[in-house]
Amino acid sequence: MDYIVLAISAILVNNILLAQYLGNCPFLGTSKKMETAVGMAFAVVFVLVMAGLITWIVNAFVLVPLKLEYLRTIGFILVIASLVQFVEMFLKKSIPALYAGLGIFLPLITTNCAVMGVCLINVNEEYTFIQALVSSFAYAVGFGLALILFAGVREKVLLARVPRPLQDTSIALVTAGIISLAFYAFKGMV
């Protein structure tokens, strides 16, 4: 039951994009077309679960025993960056089909703050390993949900009458704000 609450909280209530406003660059950058948004969403699910677990392990078995918790941020950056590179090489060799699908999105995630954010949340909330797994997956699903919803809205906005100064990124930010407000309706659900 706790896991379900945790998942719902991560997907809807504390949505990483709309409630926490992390991962803004891919949110705006890859949401112009549904096709790229879907690709990005799957890449994030894949990487975030991996990163969440690895960073949890690094934190629990390396940083805490050595009393080096203050090196979390910089350490995680290094670990995540290496992880993404590693995953890319692994996929290219072992699962070329998946590599072709996720293709250019993988390296983009290296610098995705949503990934970093979730890893830090996992540690700050002092989740257990299983909880960290569920939370990482759920946050990634939330990321994907928000990104795909947003891409759908942006494709519709393209057909609407938008005043010149508000076109493109400006109207996208306004739209993001409104969707975010809608997501605030989930507050208090858990």
């Binding site: 050595l66 080096l68 203050y70 090196l71 910089i74 350490g75 290094l78 670990v79 960056a81 290496s82 590179q85 590693f86 090489m89 692994f90 290219k92 060799k93 072992s94 293709g103 250019i104 906005v157 393209l158 057909l159 609407a160 009458r161 938008v162 010149r164 076109q167």
Partner: protein
């Protein structure tokens, strides 16, 4: 502090080690040429090539999915380097340039009111756009924003203008345009283009058998850019000097201006541009695609053959023209009289075409001096036969072969060949009502014949000759005998012709051609005293070469003695044999032969490149786009068309000087300004031009 530094160093080392081991374990073999090629590409990952980044482009080259010229940014040196890596010939690439044929812009009317997002993609999603023209530019400039090289800007009239110098031909604009208007083409692709149903074509261009971009060159003349006009004409018609003089301009019949006013004098403007080049004393350079190494034999050096050889040469193939007569030009030289098309003009024009690197072998007749087997042994990859229609029809009456009797084309070509035929002071009659008959009578006058008559079995209205030609002959004093059918030729004891006996006719029921059939009146035999009788009642091709080789045994021929082919591809039932001109169509216009020559060159190109020989989809061959034919054209202010100066009849029948003079620059500009710059639906009414002048 120390342990923190130590820890980070350790972490970095671990990560590094893991990654370096991973790169060994998960190593995927990649063609080393990919990296090598990538070095030569621009490295900007601009996507101009259509691949996701330079790496992908390099991979595509190695896999053979892209040509060495894939990178539009890096330029020709990179192409050469990439080709060297791949061991390919770098010459097989031509620069591409984006073109916008739609100049509708503000002129195009709107179907509905729209003020949504400023994007062609968005507007196109609603009923294909707000403009009435289905194929026109939407004017929101998606192409402008996609262009990485700032080569496209939205012009003041609401359609994109392309800067040819900075355009690298990457193709991004072509891909983004939802209407498919912009096309990124190399010169060869432009030369191969034909009229299709969904293209931006004015009625005149739809009508022209050579499909010349008429509004295009008239626009260039209007801007004073005569060289550009010549280049535009040359993309479709290599014989502009000749056509500018002799073309009966079917285009002018469809000129939109002619609905409210006199048609624009299109052909005179073509002649003006062509004469401008000749009189400027230098030839404009004509670009030729890199050599393909293929060789084509062009049999027949008339307009069809010259046109075919010219286009083949520009497409990069080698062409050799074989001509039976001593000089090239065919009917242009031997059929059309000096006073309409001077020989030195023909010489100048043909020399310019041969200078592209076309070999000409004259005085050799196909089927007699050489056969198809010789051509195949010599290594020609395809053969074009455009021998024309040089065999005159007979009258099939008694005494036709008497002394003093000639056949039309035979007479004209002997005269043009410089043969002395005693004509001075003699009475002459010409049988026939076509252009050849008129050419014969006008020639006879100039040779000093005392009296010249035309004998035609129908009335003036039914004469197939061009109206201007008939009028000119009337002015020069030719006698016309209408409704007269030759019955027999009467000779003296020496076999010299003395009289032509003919029957008076009257018009009866209309026949298959819609013309009323002449019926003889009984007992109306009349004798016309003549010393010279010329029969010019039509010609047909000489297919005598067919028996010279068993390879041609299966060649299909129609009952008019022409090649039996698809009129669009002009490929005969022998796959490597192509044709065009009078040999394919029967006696027709010069411009028809030129257009046919280009179509044949297009088919030959497809054949040589191993493609399927076929006409383009939605081809507009000999048809018009219904919606582009108007019944009224509002906004036209009547303006007299510039008339060409011609020598007076008294003056001109004394010699063979060219009768029609070219327009002066002033007249040409005035005439070019009469053009409504039409397209499929758009045109610029005179009223708009007036308003602009006032402003």
């Amino acid at each position: 502090m120390i342990e923190a530094l130590f820890f980070m160093l350790l972490l970095g080392a671990v990560c590094g080690l893991v990654l370096s081991f991973a790169s060994k374990i998960f190593y995927v073999w990649e063609d080393p040429r990919i990296a090598e090629i990538e070095n030569f590409l621009a490295g900007a990952n601009c996507g101009g090539c259509g691949f996701t980044g330079c790496g992908a482009a390099a991979e595509a080259v190695v896999k053979g999915k892209a040509l060495p010229n894939v990178c539009a940014v890096a330029g020709p040196e990179a192409t050469t380097s990439v080709a060297a890596v791949m061991g390919m010939d770098p010459g097989s690439s031509e620069p591409k340039i984006s073109r916008n044929p739609c100049e509708g812009g503000d002129r195009a009317e709107d179907k509905f009111y729209y003020n949504g997002v400023n994007s062609c993609q968005a507007v196109a999603a609603m009923f294909g756009g707000k403009r009435t023209c289905d194929v026109g530019c939407l004017g929101y400039g998606d192409c402008v924003s996609i262009c990485q090289f700032n080569s496209i800007r939205m012009g003041e009239h609401g359609y994109p203008e392309i800067d040819e110098f900075s355009c690298v031909g990457c193709g991004a604009c072509e891909r983004i345009c939802p209407k498919g208007i912009l096309s990124v083409q190399s010169m060869s692709e432009r030369l191969l283009e034909t009229n299709v149903e969904d293209a931006a074509l004015a009625p005149c261009q739809q009508t022209c058998p050579a499909e010349i971009d008429i509004p295009g060159y008239i626009g260039s003349i209007r801007e004073g850019n005569y060289e550009a006009a010549v280049h535009i004409i040359r993309e479709r018609n290599p014989l502009l000097l000749a056509c500018g003089r002799v073309c009966p301009h079917p285009c002018e019949d469809y000129c939109r201006r002619s609905i409210e006013d006199e048609a624009v004098s299109i052909n005179q403007l073509k002649r003006f541009a062509a004469d401008y080049e000749m009189n400027s004393g230098k030839r404009l350079p004509i670009s030729v695609a890199p050599s393909t190494g293929k060789k084509v034999a062009v049999v027949g050096g008339g307009p069809a053959g010259i046109s075919c050889a010219y286009f083949l040469r520009r497409l990069g193939h080698d062409a050799v023209i074989f001509e039976a007569m001593p000089k090239l030009g065919g009917m242009l030289r031997y059929g059309i009289p000096e006073y309409r098309l001077p020989k030195k003009t023909v010489d100048w024009e043909i020399q310019g075409i041969l200078d592209l690197g076309i070999e000409a072998r004259t005085n050799v007749q196909f089927g007699k001096d050489f056969t198809i087997n010789d051509l195949l042994t010599e290594g020609f990859d395809a053969i074009f036969v455009g021998q024309g229609a040089w065999v005159d029809y007979n009258l099939k009456i008694d005494g036709e072969e008497s002394k003093g009797c000639f056949k039309g084309i035979d007479f004209l070509s002997r005269l043009s060949g410089g043969e002395e035929i005693p004509i001075e002071g003699k009475k002459a009659a010409v049988v026939g009502g076509g252009n050849s008959a008129i050419d014969c009578v006008r020639n006879l006058l100039r040779c000093g014949a005392e009296e010249v008559s035309i004998v035609y079995r129908r009335t003036r209205k039914e004469m197939p000759a061009n109206e201007v030609e008939i009028e000119a002959a009337e002015h020069e004093g030719v006698k016309f005998l209408f409704l007269a059918a030759p019955n027999k030729v009467i000779t003296d004891d020496d076999g010299n012709v003395t009289h032509l006996e003919y029957l008076q006719m009257e018009l009866g029921e209309p026949d298959a051609s819609g013309r009323r059939r002449p019926v003889p009146i009984e007992g109306s035999e009349t004798q016309l005293p003549v010393d010279i009788l010329i029969t010019a009642i039509g010609q047909q091709p000489d297919m005598g070469f067919k028996d010279s080789s068993d390879k041609l045994a299966d060649l299909q021929i129609t009952r008019w003695n022409t090649f039996d082919t698809d009129p669009e591809t002009l490929q005969t039932n022998i796959p490597y044999l192509f044709t065009a001109g009078d040999a394919a169509t029967g006696p027709s216009l010069v411009v028809e032969a030129i257009g046919g020559g280009r179509r044949a060159a297009r088919s030959i190109h497809q054949y040589l490149m191993g493609e399927e020989v076929k006409a383009p989809e939605k081809s507009l061959f000999k048809r018009h786009i219904e919606e582009s034919l108007f019944t009224e054209v509002p906004g036209v202010v009547k303006k007299k068309r510039s008339t060409m100066t011609e020598l007076s009849p008294e003056e001109r029948i004394k010699n063979f000087e060219e009768v029609d003079q070219t327009l002066t620059e002033e007249e040409a500009l005035a005439e070019a300004n009469r053009c409504l710059s039409c397209c499929r639906l758009c045109y610029t009414p005179d009223l708009d031009k007036l308003e602009k002048d006032v402003a």
